[in-house]
């Protein structure tokens, strides 16, 4: 880390995490000068239990709460326009997104529409200038979070909106909401966050803040993901993974080293495969290449992955190899626990040949497209191509 080069780091959101964190919402909203919230969620994606828990947390606050729980996987700008009209008609003053993925993307674009006071949300495009901070926006991730909820990105109908102002002002992580129905959901979110933070952690241009965030997220995931996958009822582990996933959104918003992330996004946007699956399978070929380029960066991974004692006991020359071994053990443990529920190769993911062609067309347009193709080939992409 060369501090004389100068650096910037932005994390505009406050995190409230822990037991009964949701119950602090009325006070936190009052701090944002907001008293009439509109909850954006989905009965199918977030679940009625999570919605009930959130509404119950407002008990005794005297607030009137609007609940829009009809967001679907196929939501687009028409849905945003529909909610915008409800928001204005009901005179709501804060948006609360409950859930992950598309729910938060819809809420981000809605916040953009109501804050910019556009006449029609369908007019919004990635070219829309976002110069000033937007209205108060709260994100409450559930187990279905992808990590992008806390990031500066919002993807809707293939359009990618980017601005630090899209990031939430408050993130609430409550263990009642972060426990997943199945281990696969936790593993996907964990792998996505792990890949994103790992790439930022070994980046040559990382700054001290990024280092702190990425280190903490990596250690949280390494120490807790396997237990969270195996024992889904365990509050502590699932909350630790949820915290790491939230941190990964902040990390990805502050780095340009995001090859694995971009690869995951291409597959998600094209074939609707969770980015965590793709990031998980591409981790090893990517790290092998990094090792060949500069093994000292991989060596630094041993500290968050294996812990202080193991790092101190290992001579410098052996740290890179040990870090890779530890990573292999970690991912093997997750895959073994899930017994084939998460594909390890592109072939196992069952992506059709004609869709792979579309994916390669998009990847070829990326600045490092040739390299990304080699990574895909090594995880089974070549067999489909043939």
């Amino acid at each position: 880390m060369n501090l004389t080069n100068g650096f910037a780091f932005t994390c505009p959101f406050k995190t409230n995490s822990g037991n009964k964190a949701l119950e602090h919402l009325p006070v936190e909203l009052a701090g944002l000068n907001a008293f009439k919230p509109l909850i954006i969620t989905s009965r199918e994606l977030a679940g009625p239990k999570a919605i009930g828990t959130l509404i119950n947390a407002f008990g005794d606050s005297g607030m009137t709460i609007g609940v829009f729980d009809d967001v679907t996987e196929t939501a687009d700008l028409n849905v945003v326009e529909q909610i915008r009209e409800i928001f204005l008609k009901g005179q709501y003053d804060v948006i609360i997104a409950l859930g992950g993925g598309i729910i938060v993307d819809v809420a981000k674009i809605l916040n953009l529409a109501v804050s910019l006071k556009v006449a029609d949300a369908r007019q919004l495009s990635p070219a829309t200038a976002i110069r000033d901070p937007l209205g108060p926006f709260v994100v409450i991730p559930t187990a279905a979070a992808t990590g992008m909820e806390t990031s500066k990105y919002a993807v809707l109908s293939g359009k990618i909106f980017t601005s630090v102002h899209l990031m939430p002002g408050l993130v609430v992580l409550d263990p009642r909401l972060t426990r997943a129905k199945d281990g696969k959901t936790v593993a996907e979110a964990g792998f996505a966050a792990f890949g994103r933070t790992l790439e930022a952690y070994i980046a040559p241009d990382k700054n001290p803040f990024m280092d702190a965030y990425a280190f903490t997220a990596l250690r949280f995931i390494r120490e807790n993901l396997a237990s969270a996958v195996n024992k889904r009822c365990n509050k502590k582990e699932s909350l630790a993974v949820a915290n790491a996933v939230a941190m990964s959104g902040c990390v990805i918003s502050n780095t340009d080293q995001n090859m694995l992330h971009r690869l995951g996004q291409v597959f998600q946007n094209t074939v609707h495969v969770h980015p965590g699956i793709i990031i998980g399978m591409c981790l090893h070929p990517f790290l092998d290449d990094c090792m060949k380029k500069d093994s000292s960066r991989i060596a630094s991974l041993l500290l968050p992955l294996a812990g202080d004692d193991k790092y101190a006991a290992m001579p410098e020359a052996g740290r890179a190899g040990d870090a890779l071994r530890d990573l292999c053990e970690f991912s093997y443990e997750i895959y073994r626990s899930l017994k084939g529920k998460i594909p390890r190769t592109i072939t196992e993911a069952g992506i059709q040949q004609y869709l792979m062609k579309d994916i390669f067309d998009i990847i070829n347009q990326e600045p490092d497209g040739a390299y990304l193709r080699t990574v895909i080939d090594r995880v089974g992409g070549s067999s489909i191509k043939a």
């Binding site: 409230n16 822990g18 602090h24 005794d60 607030m63 009137t64 609007g66």
Partner: protein
């Protein structure tokens, strides 16, 4: 799309209100019975008043000094000027603290408590509350409520104090 008016939590609110009412009267009693509590109050300014309660709509407990005597003023925040407010962020957090699932120190670290006023005064009040809880509760429960249970207190101090505090609290003098 639906609009919901947040419901109440009457049972938790009733528990917290009764606890604060009893504790308020116990502080008034302890100020007459225990020398340490007397010393803490003596160090506070004349007419000093503090309130302990939870957001957004209470209940509250208001205790203060009037003509050199410590008095419990009930649950109305507007009854007199309050110099210090110890605020619990939500009714659920108040229930956690007052049902001894979390100690005051633990609740502070978990971001459940806010202080509106001078910190040294708040620390005095916390010390007074700890002493009162030791008098009111059996050792097993009091150990959960306070940071460190005063095992160095003599048996006679505990016994005489408990009798005095309970009698005065129940009779209200």
């Amino acid at each position: 799309m639906r609009e919901i008016h947040a419901g109440g939590k009457p049972l938790k609110k009733a528990y917290v209100a009764i606890f604060l009412w009893f504790t308020g009267r116990a502080i008034q009693a302890a100020a007459k019975v225990d020398k340490e509590v007397q010393k803490e109050f003596a160090a506070l300014p004349d007419d000093f008043t503090f309130a302990l309660g939870c957001l957004p709509n209470g209940p509250w407990m208001v205790v203060g000094k009037e003509k050199g005597k410590v008095k419990y003023f009930g649950g109305n925040l507007k009854c007199r000027p309050v110099h210090l407010r110890l605020v619990i962020k939500s009714l659920d957090a108040a229930f956690l603290i007052l049902s001894f699932q979390e100690s005051t120190a633990l609740a502070t670290t978990r971001n459940r408590l806010m202080t509106d006023g001078e910190v040294p005064y708040a620390l005095s009040v916390i010390r007074i509350l700890d002493i009162v809880e030791v008098y009111l509760l059996p050792k097993l429960i009091a150990s959960l409520a306070v940071k460190r249970y005063p095992s160095w207190w003599s048996f006679s101090r505990k016994l005489a104090g408990r009798v005095g505090v309970y009698t005065r609290t129940l009779l209200g003098f």
